[in-house]
Subunit: 110 residues, 2 copies
DNA sequence: CTGGATCCGTGATGATACTG
DNA sequence: CAGTATCATCACGGATCCAG
């Protein structure tokens, strides 16, 4: 497996903006969290909800988010497979960030 | 000149989170805006305020931000040169985003 | 002091085909 | 359906030199 691609810099010390950005600053990260939102959503649904993302990036981000406890994953041993993703308590706390981005996008961008 | 490295995707259509992320999703973008904040700040000060950033990236981001009307730049024809940066009205509207990131960093990260 | 310009490595990102 | 594997590409970003 390709190794985790998001690097945590030790030198970020104590700037809270930087600490948040290190975890959530990925190109798709906040968008994925925002799309999951308060739903329990399947992989395929999520993929359709985010047009343009490649499968690789979606899986990679989801694994990252699960690993860092933003997202919880539940797999059902069925045929065909079913996997459901939802936000953890920590993940829910990131929603205000995406909300602020959405508000800005709506109010201030053409 | 190296061509502008931040690419605006046409396919983002109407998701406001994505529109915001396209402009502000750069590695240093929000951090720079946050550091300028409500100040009028010189280039050298700003550089010192953001340890770790290379001059190239700082200039590149500042040019991008000026170009997109988030930041205004005032150069004084003096020797030695003096250049002051500050947020435009639009730039000020991005501060809530950085604030939310800061809040999350303070409250929810180790 | 405030930049501009170029070289260049590396990791991040993406397209596509494949598997259980 | 939910991923994996492989391969190609591109943006990020450091180093360095230069200029007004």
């Amino acid at each position: 497996m390709e190794k985790s691609q998001k690097i945590i810099f030790a030198s970020d010390e104590n700037c809270p903006v930087r600490r948040s950005l290190n975890l959530l600053g990925g190109k798709w990260t906040l968008l994925i969290l925002f799309q999951i939102n308060e739903r329990i959503i399947r992989y395929g649904e999520l993929k359709r909800a985010i047009p343009g993302i490649s499968e690789k990036m979606l899986i990679q981000e989801l694994n990252f988010l699960v690993e860092h406890k933003f997202v919880s994953k539940k797999a059902y041993p069925e045929i065909p497979p079913r996997v459901e993703y939802s936000l953890t308590k920590l993940g829910l706390k990131t929603l205000p960030i995406a909300d602020t981005l959405a508000t800005f996008g709506l109010e201030s961008l053409t």
